[in-house]
């Protein structure tokens, strides 16, 4: 049986002033109902582009889906007609964004904004939609939801706004919920509440969650499976426990080492030297090679492919050759 959401060999390119660059290079991911897939990586590695591709929200141009397939319940989304995609967006596939402070429209009340999402996908009138919106606000833990529904976004705190975003996203009981760094802009205490809420909602609605983050703490708390992305490619994929406990790829190891631990008496935080290379400068070899302590000649010449070497699938020549 195929998975609920299947991304297969997805390639997305962007026209830039340096010419066409490849933002996603044969990305394959899948997630099942009730499962949480964590997608991790540094800024610019293609996590958000992956999410936007699923939503059909890649700005075209300059973006272009150059190949591959995205299937929801077996239905191909790439090339599907715009009306059908609009019907899926906010319906079967919903998304929570990184910036709760700016993701809500400042000139409409939050109640209206949630009600709009409901009316777009369900055959209900405005009064019923508003009633549902208030129930949702209550569900996501907003006190006195009746009054809050009449508030404008600027009257709510960041955490409250993210709860509103979640209420809007789950308003039509999506099958897939994509959360793109949902807690990055929030206080740590609020982060934990939002994760709890996402977990509860998953339990209630049975949605698949794709959690995009660079926060390994969030991954350990939320994810069942993890895909590590680097420079537009998936470089390691396994169960969350495997990735966290036995990271294979040098980059994944680096990410794990970067997690500061309480009680560990380090004077310096570990870091991965260098930055993600600009996409237009990617050569023929492994994109991580320049930052990798285990680099050999082959790494600069040939792209490693994601394949099971030892513990779980990873794209690294060093692992493949057994020298790391």
């Amino acid at each position: 049986m195929s998975a609920l959401l299947e991304i297969d060999d997805l390639r997305v390119t962007f026209g830039t002033r340096y010419g066409e660059v490849t933002a996603l290079d044969s990305v394959s991911l899948h997630v099942d109902a009730g499962e949480t897939l964590g997608v991790v990586g540094e800024s610019g590695c293609g996590k958000s582009i992956t999410a936007l591709s699923v939503m059909g929200l890649i700005p075209q141009p300059p973006g272009k889906i150059a190949g591959g397939s995205i299937r929801l319940n077996g239905e191909e989304l790439i090339g599907a007609n715009p009306a059908r995609l609009r019907g899926l967006r906010g319906g079967d596939v919903a998304m929570i964004f990184q910036e709760p402070m700016t993701s809500l429209n400042p000139v409409f009340t939050v109640g209206d904004q949630i009600a709009e999402a409901i009316m777009l996908h369900q055959n209900v009138d405005k009064a019923q939609a508003l009633k549902d919106a208030i129930a949702l606000l209550d569900r996501v833990g907003i006190p006195s939801p009746d009054a809050r529904a009449r508030d404008y976004p600027h009257q709510l705190s960041g955490g409250m706004r993210q709860r509103v975003m979640i209420a809007m996203a789950v308003s039509c009981r999506p099958k897939v919920l994509i959360a793109d760094e949902p807690t990055t802009a929030l206080d740590v205490t609020v982060q934990a509440q939002i994760f709890d809420l996402l977990n509860e909602i998953q339990r209630d609605f049975g949605a698949a969650i794709v959690l995009i983050t660079h926060d390994m703490g969030a991954i350990s708390e939320m994810a069942d499976r993890v895909a590590v992305m680097y420079a537009g490619r998936v470089i390691e994929e396994a169960s969350a426990d495997d990735v966290l406990d036995y990271p294979q790829h040098p980059y994944a190891r680096g990410l794990i080492d970067c997690i500061p631990a309480l009680g560990r008496d380090d004077h310096r935080l570990a870091e991965i030297p260098g930055v993600v290379p600009p996409l237009h400068l990617l050569g023929a070899g492994c994109a991580f090679a320049e930052r990798c302590a285990h680099k050999q000649d082959r790494c600069g010449l040939e792209k490693p492919l994601l394949a099971a070497h030892g513990h779980h699938p990873v794209a690294c020549h060093g692992i493949e050759e057994g020298r790391i």
Binding site: M55, R86, R89, A94, F97, S103, N105, V107
Partner: protein, 324 residues
């Protein structure tokens, strides 16, 4: 929006009007020349005795501050004095002409806002498209061309080449006895060219401004949210984006209202439109102080009202400004 704010705003408007009245009075009195001589000149020659009696009659021999006090007192009773030239109360003269001017100015304002914003929105939809280029070129030309030139060109075009619109006056003499409906249509028919002439500069400006404003808003996070919940492109443009993009347009529309009125003066002269512009023109040539001051008073009054309305509509459009 609260009543106390409206009252406060009206009070400021009143203060502003008082300032305008004082300034008008002093500026006109500072202009060289003796009004008594002018009035006497109209009567056909003057002796010193006659001048003295004219000064007595119009109160021109009293100290300046006393004259100012009397003038303010008169205005408070809606008495703008007697025209030196027309020998009629100024309020009566203005009363006859303010209707056509308001009709012209309001039509031009609405035409320029509605058409300009529409063009701007269409252009912003595809910032590199043909429509966008057209709007940019049209805006530059429209902004650069003086109204009287546009007016004269339109007169040439419609007087001789395609005579489908009347190029002069406000009503056809032959329809003097027609019913109200026919008369109204006739006035609208006469209104086309002057209104378009007056509107074109502002139309160009609003098109440019709303294009820029829309482009900025369309890049914001809440527009992505709107798309993510499955809103149609029309709803994204005209509901989610335009409401936010309207704020700078409103500001400019309010500020431009004064310019629009001075533009109306030129347009009325070109098209022989029987409004306040003609009256101002005639009274300036004849040094008819009470009439000039009356026209200035009403023009400022309209601008102050327009600004109050702008402020109020601003608060209607943007909830973040309410309750301040």
């Amino acid at each position: 929006m609260n009543t106390s704010y409206i009252l406060r705003r009206l009070f400021y408007g009143l203060l502003l009007m008082l300032g305008v009245v004082v300034l008008n009075f002093l500026l006109i009195r500072m202009a060289p020349g003796d009004p008594a001589v002018v009035i006497a000149g109209e009567m056909g020659g003057a002796t010193e005795e006659m001048l003295e009696s004219i000064r007595e009659e119009y109160g021109l021999n009293k100290p300046l501050l006393v004259q100012l006090g009397i003038y303010i007192g008169d205005i408070a009773r809606f008495d703008l004095g007697e025209s030196f030239f027309f020998n009629q109360p100024v309020t009566h003269l203005i009363g006859l002409r303010i209707g056509p001017t308001i009709l012209l100015v309001v039509t031009a304002q609405l035409l320029s806002i509605v058409l300009g914003v529409f063009l701007g929105v269409i252009a912003a939809r595809k910032p590199n498209g043909i429509m966008s280029a057209f709007v940019s070129v049209f805006a530059t030309i429209g902004y650069a061309v003086p109204v009287f030139w546009t007016g004269i060109m339109l007169i040439i075009l419609f007087a001789s080449i395609v005579p489908i619109f009347p190029v002069e006056g406000m009503q056809s003499v032959r329809l003097r006895d027609a019913n109200v409906f026919v008369k109204a249509l006739d006035i609208l028919h006469h209104l086309v060219l002057p209104a378009f002439t007056l509107a074109i500069i502002y139309l160009a400006q609003y098109a440019r401004l709303s294009r820029a404003s829309m482009l900025e808003v369309l890049g914001s996070d809440y527009i992505r949210t709107a798309r993510a919940k499955g809103a149609s492109e029309k709803s994204v443009l005209f509901k989610h984006a335009l409401r936010n993009a309207a704020l700078p347009i409103l500001t400019v529309a309010g500020l431009q209202f004064g310019n629009l009125i001075s533009g109306a003066l030129l347009v009325e002269t070109v098209f022989n439109w029987p409004g306040m512009g003609r009256l101002a023109f005639d009274s300036i040539l004849r040094r008819d102080y009470p009439t000039i001051m009356g026209v200035l008073f009403f023009a400022s009054f309209m601008v102050v009202i327009a600004n109050i309305l702008t402020d109020l509509s601003y608060r209607l459009a943007d909830p973040r400004l309410r309750g301040r």
